[in-house]
């Protein structure tokens, strides 16, 4: 959590190597969200708005406690409320704090074409640099969690920064600070994983939740925001948490095989044309004047 961990690890749309990569020892951060002790008070939603300087926007009522249907470009943190009829536990009111997951292999960064618009720090934080963002929205297509949101006024994309400005100063993210039940924790990935697994084991052994577990999806290389779930087998019930998130295959296909095939074809085509010219040269028109005899265009 020191400033040393704000060393840059990966940069979007960037030609060449990443300056300073790998110069200090790994120390990554992690946010732990224990959905089993969340009471849905939304203090984290308020703290997020306050710290990041956004005002309250219009809320909507849809037969639940949820503030609005989805996160927004100026509303990065939203508790999703879901009623779920569980075969073993009966009716459950599931509450999940939804925000950027800060993937170890970020789909947004993979898809982004703008140099340095998305940066991944060595501590795991994936941060958008809006001054470099060109507003293409490819990050929205690359993200498996539906997190980046386009601002029609700024014409750029915004999302949770994991309070990079606080973390770089040795503080915890604003949402963590505001949580009254202690369901939110912040620390190193190693410590948070340990804490999460211990809590899951406690739920299994003492609270009759045999399927309790930690959500740290390997499909995106693990995340720097992890959940403790009552039932790990039904992540979708927690407001659409994907069971096996990964960067969309079409984005991978586009950014790797298609790109290399395309580059090869374009360079090969240019070389081929040059070779053709050297071998065969221009077509000679017998008896034709090399240059037109008149001046100026025709009707």
């Amino acid at each position: 959590m020191s400033q040393a961990t704000m060393e840059i690890k990966r940069i979007s749309g960037h030609a060449g190597s990443v300056p300073g990569a790998g110069t200090s020892r790994d120390y990554d951060v992690c946010k732990l969200i224990d959905t089993t002790t969340c009471i849905g008070c939304k203090a984290c939603e308020v703290a997020c708005l306050e710290w990041n300087g956004y005002g309250f926007t219009q809320t909507s009522f849809n037969n639940s406690y949820q503030t609005m249907p989805d996160t927004a470009w100026n509303y990065w943190n939203l508790i999703r409320f879901n009623e779920y009829e569980h075969p073993d536990h009966g009716l459950m009111l599931l509450m999940r704090k939804d925000q950027c997951m800060h993937c170890e292999e970020p789909g947004c960064l993979e898809a982004c074409p703008a140099d340095a618009a998305i940066v991944q720090y060595a501590n795991g934080i994936v941060d958008f640099q809006e001054d470099h963002c060109i507003g293409c929205g490819y990050c929205m297509t690359g993200c498996p969690f539906n997190i980046p949101k386009f601002s029609p006024t700024a014409r750029k994309v915004f999302k949770c920064t994991l309070c990079v400005d606080r973390v770089s100063q040795g503080l915890e993210p604003a949402c963590i600070k505001s949580c009254p039940t202690g369901c939110l924790h912040f620390g190193s990935k190693e410590d948070m994983s340990y804490l999460a697994n211990r809590r899951a084991k406690q739920l299994q052994e003492h609270s009759n939740f045999p399927n309790a577990g930690v959500y740290d999806p390997p499909g995106v290389g693990g995340t720097h925001v992890i959940y403790v779930l009552h039932d790990k087998t039904i992540p979708e019930a927690y407001g659409g948490l994907p069971a096996d998130p990964h960067i969309p295959w079409s984005v991978k296909l586009w950014k790797h095989p298609l790109k290399w095939l395309g580059n090869l074809a374009m360079i090969g085509g240019l070389v081929g044309l040059a070779v053709h010219y050297l071998r065969f040269g221009p077509k000679v028109v017998p008896g034709a004047d090399k240059f037109p005899e008149h001046e100026g265009p025709r009707p």
Partner: protein, 229 residues
């Protein structure tokens, strides 16, 4: 379908492209080159400097879709003007089977061609089909925030189709540029000034040449070009 307005000009040269045809060609050409440069900038970080040269990534992202609309309108106009003459015939299939002679500049061994040869027809239909694909996928990429999450597969398709179709047009464009600038003397002038010499027409577009001469018999005297003024 507009009809072919090719004719023999008073000085004996042949009018190959009318003013409107040339105008639309250059509208397509200029918009395409802008699309190509900004598109390549988004394609690879190593080419991002192209967007920087053209006013920056944000401006390029804002203008690229509008240039795309202009390009599509130009392609649509070309389709209206030329689709009839671009019909692929048996003659064209024969031309393709002997394309190696065309490549090695032994044009006399290829079947005589009408106003557009089979290669030009391929270019035309390639750009029409890819133009439609680029427009449809481009609209999705223009407004990704309007594609709801449960229809995200549309975005997944668009990010693949758009560059794939663009790559095909780049191949066609490179060959087109090479033919027009380096291979066929007089081809560039034909799309700027509009006219070609009779020997050029006879060499590359024999059927068209015969047709033009037949349709304007009174002017066939021009077959012997008058002396320069």
């Amino acid at each position: 379908m507009s009809r072919d307005e090719s004719q023999i000009l008073p000085d004996g040269r042949l009018l190959r492209y009318t003013y409107v045809e040339r105008l639309i060609h250059w509208l397509a050409a200029i918009s395409y080159v802008y699309l190509l440069l900004t598109g390549l900038a988004f394609w690879s970080p190593w080419l991002y400097w192209m967007a920087v040269m053209l006013g920056g990534g944000t401006i390029s992202r804002e203008l690229h879709p509008w240039a795309g609309l202009i390009f599509f309108v130009a392609v649509l106009a070309m389709w209206r003007m030329w689709a009839f003459e671009m019909n692929v015939t048996d003659n064209d299939k024969q031309w393709f089977s002997q394309v190696k002679h065309y490549i090695s500049n032994e044009d006399e061994k290829t079947p005589p061609q009408d106003r557009f040869n089979a290669g030009q027809k391929s270019l035309f239909w390639g750009f029409v089909v890819c133009g439609i694909l680029l427009l449809l996928s481009g609209l999705v990429l223009w407004f990704p925030n309007y594609i709801p999450w449960n229809l995200r597969w549309v975005r997944y398709l668009a990010v693949l189709i758009h560059p794939a179709a663009a790559l095909i047009t780049i191949g066609l464009f490179l060959i087109h540029l090479y033919m027009g600038l380096a291979i066929e003397e007089g081809a560039l002038h034909s799309i700027v000034g509009g006219d070609v010499s009779q020997s050029w027409a006879k060499e590359f577009h024999r059927l068209w040449y015969d047709r033009v001469l037949r349709s304007t018999p009174s002017a066939s005297a021009g077959a012997n070009p008058p002396a320069r003024k």
